[in-house]
């Protein structure tokens, strides 16, 4: 089974959840990231996602491995969609199962924050009067060593 995927097609949410169903799990949390219409008062018409696919899949798998290491008995599955997405379309689905519920919530939150940090996926906002690649919330982060630093984890 492929637990970490980049998809050009609409994501089957239930299929992602089903991957982490296990007899030893007592909880599954699901995060569904969707395309928002308004950002900072600006109206988005649609988004375009691009990925360095081979590396993105590896980085998603790395996040899954980090989760399994940090939360005992956890299992994650992540699918991120690329291409053109319209308002309300599902961009990413993260499912995490754990023996107990608190860990499932925490680990799922960890996954989406890590995606925004290390997975090579980019989105382009298209508005009525223009378009722009979005980079790390207003280009605030620089990477002096050429790669993410240990502290680069706030959103």
């Amino acid at each position: 089974m492929t637990f970490y995927e980049i998809s050009k097609e609409p994501i089957n949410i239930q299929a992602v959840i089903d991957k982490v169903v296990r007899r030893e799990a007592g909880a599954i949390t699901t995060f569904i990231g969707t395309v928002r219409e308004l950002t900072g008062g600006k109206k988005t018409l649609f988004l375009e996602y691009q990925a360095y696919e081979a590396m993105a899949v590896k980085k998603l798998a790395q996040i899954g491995a980090e989760i399994e290491q940090r939360w005992s008995g956890a299992k994650a599955a992540i699918t991120h969609r690329i291409g053109r997405l319209d308002i309300t379309d599902v961009a990413v689905v993260i499912a995490v199962s754990t023996p107990h519920r608190a860990d499932a919530y925490e680990a799922n939150r960890y996954a989406i924050e890590r995606i925004k940090e290390i997975v090579p996926i980019w989105k382009k906002e298209h508005w009525e009067n223009g378009e722009e690649w979005v980079g790390n919330q207003l280009e605030t982060a620089a990477y002096p060593s050429g790669k993410p630093e240990a502290g680069d984890f706030d959103e």
Binding site: G33, Y49, Q50, A51, Y52, A54, M55, A56, K58, H80, A91, V92, I112, I115, K116, E117, I118, V119, P120, I121, W122, K123, K124, W133, V134, G135, N136, E139, A141, A142, Y143, P144, S145, G146, K147, P148
Partner: protein, 77 residues
């Protein structure tokens, strides 16, 4: 030879998904500086580099056949 991939705004600026260059023996920083000058790439100080699908520091030396990718600040999710 080395394949160098571009993404997001860098792909728009360069006008290619990738180019082939001979970068063996150069460091990541040296290659980035050359590309920045050749294509007038913006905001390269915020751009990370991947070598063979893993983040690479600026002082890493490139070997023949390594696949390089310039990684602007990511915005997935």
């Amino acid at each position: 030879m080395n394949k160098v991939l571009f993404f997001a705004h860098l792909r728009d600026v360069v006008g290619e998904e990738f180019i082939m260059v001979d970068a063996s023996g150069k460091t990541v920083a040296e290659l980035k500086a050359e590309l920045a000058a050749k294509y007038d790439l913006p905001r390269l100080e915020t751009v990370m580099t991947a070598m063979n699908e893993e983040f690479a520091p600026n002082d890493e030396v490139i070997r023949d056949g390594d696949e390089i990718a310039l990684i602007p600040p990511v915005s997935g999710g």
